[in-house]
Amino acid sequence: MAGQTSVPAPSSRLQEIVSDSNRIEELSDTDNEYADEYEDVGTVVDQHEAANMAYINSMISPIRDSLETETSITQDETLAVVLPFLEGNPNDFLLNTFGLPKLQREKHAAFLHQALGDYPAQMAAMDAARPWLVYWSLQGLTALGYDISDMRDRIVETFLPSQHPDGGYGGGHGQLPHLAATYAAVLSLVMAGGTTAYESVNRKSMWHYLGRMKQVDGGFTMAPGGEEDIRGAFCALVVMSLLNIPLDLPPDAPARAHGMTTFLDKLGEWVSRCQTFEGGISAAPGNEAHGAYAFCGLGCLSIMGPPTETLNKYFDMPLLLHWLSSRQCSPEGGYNGRTNKLVDGCYSHWVGSCWPLVEAAVGKEVSNRSALARYILSAAQHKKGGLIDKPGKRADAYHTCYNLAGLSAAQHKNVYDEATAPDIGKSELGAPFGWKVDGLFEGERVWGDEDFVEEVHPIFVIPYQAAEDCRRYFEAKEGF
């Protein structure tokens, strides 16, 4: 029955891959005989291409349905765009010892420095997202190993006008406070570090603002009268944990009228309701499972307590694991955000950085880090600097930040260990300070020594040191 309706019918491209694979086998069979001649023809490049193709062939699933729909057509188109980058080196980047493009560190840094600079008038659409531009760029630069301390004063000054008198941050002067803007602003200030940056945040009014965002069903809205989704829950807890803000709701929080007393009331249950029948996590109960919201959900629970406890308590972990591993596209190696969607470099983080959190809860390594790193190095670096969604797309600070964060999570072993930071994180929302890097990934590597990205905190997505310094500062401080 099934056979009749679904005769596997490889596309011409797939047939091409298969025949390539035969050719490669032929080559390797006769390797000894022709070795010298092959070398003479010249080129290490050809050898790398052959190796890449052999790899792609080993990753591709032989099953393919004949039925064409919009989804399969766009998937085929995408693969046709991505494959040349996985096989060869259309950007003419220098290659690492594994035959993959090196991390274009200087180019990416130059791109991010530019992203912190001035924008033309046509970019007015980013007016409410300026804190994001700053955060993505600063985080990208620190991931690349650049020191941002010379920008400290400018960072602090940039956010002064966007702090709302009633607490929290907006996109700029006069804009209403918003949890996304607040998240990006606080992370930027924490990265800047130092007393001036820390003290520029009005933690007392922040506490009141967050209190107004807390909803009766347990979740958080993004803004006064704004949408309630899982970003709100995550952003609120990130800010509270870093700034050591009290867990008790402020007296003026509307949720208090409904018997709630703390920010965590019903929160775990609300996040739990965001897990869908597919196993992934959605923006709000009932919506479709999505990679970016999955990271928010996992991050939120990992702030509420040790992931070993909270994740297993509120999520069906086997189902989540199944969904999460399904996000890896084959043979692209990068992640998509939802079932039957296309690979996109930003999910290198949104999905890729879920893994340390999930693996802390299940105690095993289950993701394919080298396939992801291949996608990032080969297909997600823009020729002129900056990282991208997929070949053919423009670079932006967003994709640069999150491809790099994903690469970091692939290269380093982020592990949870309660004994990590003995002097901080023992009080409320201290679980994120139990993380540390326990050496490098020991599996199959595709990055050279010069392709390393710095360690990134798996929940806060800023340098470990920056997060710990900030928490330490506010733990030592009395009152607001």
């Binding site: 099934a2 699933s61 980013m126 940039t158 006069g174």
Partner: protein, 304 residues
């Protein structure tokens, strides 16, 4: 179109604009046009004195046309509409035109949601959404908004809604957003409540028919498995069906890796079938889904 200014407009003469007070060298600064800059300065001024008026409504319209991603403007606009007891039908008509231009925009959908919520009627919304989805069949905001409508107006058992969703799946059986919406319609309103046997049967058959059209489609398999799990049917319910697409005794004839995955789960449940489960997982790891070899091997280790 000629730029609109307020400083020489007598209707605005009583407003003292508040310019953006950025410091000397802000990061990621935008070189605003004079028009945008001035409009924002007037907005800051009217917001500071909580003015809710028709002229402010016009001002928000103006700013949205220059920057539709400005959540502050949208939130304030809704406040103005509420205070003025404005005709919300008119607002929806205006939004219809604006939304088409800015599909991937959180604000516009949230605004629409709050307006429709207040209006108390979903009339016309289904058609509007259908138009929007024609441009982007998996748009997350649009589908989430559709779920809001179902929840808000109790459309879980609405036959038209189910039919429409079926049409979307019919059009592209791999549209996961449509499958998710179907699940939401059929089971989302029920909480922990058990579903009718007949409905469960109908859903199983629906998913199976879709799988037969395209066996290597995770959307329909996830749905099928989701229905089984939610209604607490034994996993083995799907054994015969899965065997149509994968059989560990015939490792060369697998037409769906998801069937193999399903079989692995079924065999895992039985102590006596551990070896079969391992075989299925091995086939996935080495042959039919090698990119996830670590994951399949992890599942295998759990069996030991």
């Amino acid at each position: 179109m000629a730029p609109t200014f307020y400083h020489d407009d007598p209707k605005w003469s009583n407003i003292k604009p508040i310019p953006q007070n950025d410091t000397a060298r802000p990061l990621a600064a935008i070189a605003y046009t004079d028009e945008y800059s001035e409009a924002m300065s007037y907005l800051r001024a009217v917001m500071a004195k909580n003015e809710y008026s028709h002229r402010v409504l016009g001002l928000t319209d103006h700013i949205i046309s220059m920057n539709p991603a400005h959540y502050t403007i949208w939130l304030y606009r809704f406040k103005v509409l509420s205070e003025l007891h404005a005709d919300l039908r008119e607002e929806i008509a205006w939004l219809n035109v604006t939304a088409l231009k800015h599909l991937k925009n959180y604000q516009i959908w949230h605004h629409r949601q709050t307006v429709i919520d207040k209006l108390g009627s979903p009339e016309g919304e289904a058609d509007f959404i259908a138009t929007m989805l024609q441009q982007d069949t998996k748009n997350y905001h649009v589908w989430s908004y559709r779920q809001f409508l179902v929840q808000r107006f109790g459309l879980f058992d609405d036959e038209g809604e189910l039919k429409w969703t079926e049409g979307m799946i019919e059009e592209d059986v791999r549209n996961n957003s449509a499958w998710n919406h179907r699940y939401f319609l059929v089971f989302g309103g029920k909480g922990e409540q058990t579903a009718d046997k007949a409905i469960v049967e109908r859903e199983l058959n629906y998913a199976k028919a879709a799988i037969k059209k395209a066996p290597q489609n995770q959307s329909s398999w996830n749905y099928l498995r989701g229905v089984v799990r939610r209604n607490k049917l034994p996993t083995s319910t799907l054994k015969d069906f899965a065997l149509e697409f994968a059989d560990i005794e015939k490792p060369d004839d697998v037409t769906s890796s998801y069937a193999l995955d399903t079989l692995a789960d079924i065999y895992t449940e039985y102590q006596s079938k551990r070896e079969e489960a391992k075989k299925a997982l091995d086939l996935l790891a080495t042959r039919y889904d090698p990119v996830r070899a670590h994951y399949w091997n992890y599942r295998k280790r759990l069996l030991e």
